[in-house]
């Protein structure tokens, strides 16, 4: 299929009212979920996933991508109005957004946040269209050794999603890798950790594991301490975004979008560092830098552009290499798997129509976000008023129905409940859940490519350095590990100094 044929086939798939309707529905769900304090874009995508099984692949995936896009923007609404970021990446938005809301300029901040998000999202989608196909055609030359080295490099993602402790991130990842080995061994067909159960021979269901890990711990935490925080919602105010303010922020929006695209395309970095880098660059370059942190509209624009610039770019490694760029794209892989689609270079060969339909749908999602986001900003007060004591029991019921519906299996419900408890214990003991999930997805790919390569070479390890691609990935892995070690040592030193100064302060007798 030529590029033009694939584009035409993709357009035919998207040019159905259902495609646009599901995309709009997804964006709406995402914006609402992102705007509800306590919910997150990750949880929203995970909970929507089971509802896509009954849909055609293109409708289901567009629905999820809509939730993803909407969720990222939605997180900025509570960040501005109640200083409770819906997503970690929205924390940068709160730095200037909340002070603006305190000054009665919430409407201005929210409008800027929406426009910056839509522009960055559009730029990110264009980058995806430009680079994904090129990268996929390059990846078509990959055999098992290249795949193995690529996945080893991708596992360094874990450093980016480990939070405070890299060692705990690695421990969480080893747990994910171990759980991924459950089932029948793919070479010998012998059993591994099935404990004699027929249900476990096929391994643990991916969706049950991820819903258990990301949705249930929040519910358990809420049941443990249901005294909901009092959120003081700021009024919208009467100020509107003015053209001169928008025009002077455009430079920061484009810079933030470019930062988002670049960082988003590298697996594991995610939206939060992008938002903060974009914010700090805008502050460095702005003539109003002393206003940053006190209610500067350019700060809101930069943070939101950096945050949303990542959204399309994270799909570049997902679609072209089959490697998730962050936790949400790891969940979206599940939607592809459910519909018998395998993300990676072959997707561009075997299902080019779906790939191009997704591209066109993503462009449409930026415009839908503009419309739906504008409505959501005005409706936020009602969204934030959904009481947690009704929300969380509802989420649990959704989880039970959704997980059962995957395979008509009550065993999957048990897996979800057990993983929920595991996830809560991890939350309590400060183990990050994201490395667990990413390792759980990459684990089988890592092991299979390693063993296939060894079968090809009859046990010779030289196959793992057989050409420029494998050597390139080893070099990237070493570089990445060196950078991780440097960053970890620096962070540990800062933490030690902070602990020492806190000890000194607490030891000083009060006058």
């Amino acid at each position: 299929m030529t590029f033009m044929e694939a584009l035409a086939a993709g357009f035919t798939l998207v040019a159905q009212w259902e495609s646009i309707a599901f995309l709009a529905l997804g964006v709406t769900i995402g914006v609402i979920a992102g705007a509800i304090p306590g919910m997150s874009a990750t949880m929203a995508v995970a909970l929507t996933l089971p509802f896509t099984f009954a849909l055609q692949p293109i409708f289901g995936i567009l629905l999820l991508l809509g939730v993803y896009k909407g969720g990222i923007f939605g997180g900025s609404i509570p960040a501005i109005l109640i200083k409770t970021p819906g997503t970690p990446a929205s924390s940068a938005t709160a730095l200037d957004g909340y002070p603006m809301a305190e000054q009665g300029r919430a409407g201005e901040a929210l409008s800027m946040s929406l426009y910056a998000s839509c522009i960055a999202d559009l730029m990110s989608n264009l980058a995806l269209i430009l680079f994904a196909a090129w990268l996929a055609s390059f990846a078509l030359n990959f055999g098992p050794p290249e795949m193995f080295t690529l996945i080893v490099f991708s596992l360094t993602i874990i450093a980016g999603v480990s939070g405070d402790s890299l060692v705990k991130g690695i421990i969480a990842a080893t747990l994910g890798l171990l759980l991924a080995t459950i089932g029948l061994d793919f070479i010998g067909g012998t059993e591994r950790f099935t404990f004699g159960s027929v249900d476990m021979r096929g391994g643990l269901n991916f969706v049950a594991v991820l819903i258990g890990l990301f949705a249930l711990p929040e519910i358990i935490a809420y049941i443990r301490n249901p005294e909901a925080k009092e959120h003081r919602v700021r009024g919208m105010g009467y100020s509107r975004l003015k053209w001169p303010d928008f025009r002077r922020s455009l430079k920061s929006i484009f810079r933030g979008s470019a930062i988002g695209v670049f960082l988003g395309a590298i697996p594991g970095i995610g939206a939060a560092p992008s938002a903060f880098l974009s914010y700090s660059e805008a502050r460095r370059a702005s003539p109003n830098r002393e206003n940053f942190g006190k209610g500067e509209i350019e700060g809101v624009a930069a943070a939101e552009a950096g945050n949303n610039g990542v959204a399309g770019a994270t799909l570049i490694p997902l679609l072209s290499l089959g490697i998730p760029g962050d936790v949400i794209t790891a969940i979206i892989i599940g939607a592809f798997m459910v519909h018998n689609l395998t993300p990676g270079p072959l997707l561009f060969v075997n299902n080019a129509d779906i790939v191009y339909a997704l591209f066109i749908g993503l462009i449409a999602s930026s415009f839908l976000l503009l419309i739906i986001g504008a409505v959501a900003i005005r409706a936020f007060r009602y969204i934030a008023d959904i009481p947690s004591d009704l929300l969380f029991p509802g989420v649990l019921v959704l989880c039970i129905f959704g997980v059962f519906a995957i395979n008509n299996s009550i065993f999957d419900v048990a897996v979800m409940l057990v993983m929920g408890v595991v996830g809560y214990i991890m939350l309590l003991l400060r183990f990050p859940a994201a490395p667990f999930l990413i390792a759980f997805i990459l684990g089988p790919m890592l092991e299979n490519s390693f063993r296939q390569a060894l079968l090809m070479s009859r046990g010779s390890l030289e196959i793992f350095v057989r050409g420029p691609i494998t050597i390139l990935f080893w070099c990237l892995t070493i570089l990445s590990v060196v950078m991780i070690i440097r960053a970890t040592v620096r962070a540990a030193r800062l933490k030690r100094e902070a602990a020492r100064s806190a000890t000194r302060v607490s030891a000083t007798p009060k006058a």
């Binding site: 509802f51 099984f53 009954a54 405070d164 060692v167 705990k168 690695i170 421990i171 080893t174 747990l175 890798l177 171990l178 080995t181 061994d185 070479i187 010998g188 012998t190 059993e191 591994r192 950790f193 099935t194 358990i220 809420y222 049941i223 443990r224 301490n225 249901p226 009481p387 004591d389 009704l390 969380f392 029991p393 509802g394 649990l396 019921v397 959704l398 039970i400 129905f401 059962f404 519906a405 008509n408 009550i410 419900v413 048990a414 409940l417 003991l429 400060r430 092991e447 390693f450 060894l454 079968l455 009859r458 046990g459 540990a492 030690r496 602990a499 020492r500 806190a502 000890t503 607490s506």
Partner: protein, 163 residues
């Protein structure tokens, strides 16, 4: 950030778990074929690698916690659970176990309604009326979506069956 004592206990727990994986779970629950031409192709190879990495990381947590200056009490997270919290968590555990076992016998819809109402009351909600309404409406809506639209056979139980 956990206190030094908690961090050491976590590290020891991880080390113990890794030891159990390496010396009990893998030998007992991984079936290795009689003839494995290359050691790395054995089904136990990856679990062993993972177990060793986990063991090393567990020890690293212990050593780091023992050697680093302890976080001040103001920063360290408190893992203690108050009595009302423990009671709610225990009730939730019982509820989740009961939910799993009643899905087949009572049916998913009725079980979900009971779970919803139980959680609303467990958390001392002020919205009890709306809680009961939502507990009835949501499972029924999900039942009709999955059964009629998605074609999924939701477990109906043996007591009251829905159309």
């Amino acid at each position: 950030m956990l206190s030094r004592r908690d961090e050491i206990l976590v590290g020891l727990g991880v080390t113990l778990m890794a030891a159990l994986i390496l010396w009990w779970l893998i030998p007992t629950y991984v079936t290795i074929p009689r003839r494995v031409p290359i050691k790395a192709l054995s089904p136990a190879f990856w679990p062993n690698v993972i177990g060793w990495v986990m063991l090393i990381c567990g020890l690293a947590v212990v050593i780091r916690a023992a050697m680093a200056p302890p976080p001040p009490d103001a920063i360290a997270d408190d893992l203690r659970v108050s009595r009302p919290e423990a009671a709610r968590l225990a009730a939730l555990a019982v509820l989740l176990v009961a939910t799993f076992f009643s899905l087949r016998t009572v049916g998913m819809v009725w079980t979900s309604m009971v779970v919803f109402v139980a959680l609303v009351f467990l958390t001392g909600s002020k919205n009890r009326f709306w809680g009961v309404v939502a507990a009835i409406v949501l499972p029924l809506a999900l039942y009709f979506f999955f059964t009629k639209v998605a074609g999924v056979a939701i477990p109906q139980g043996r007591i009251v069956r829905l159309p």
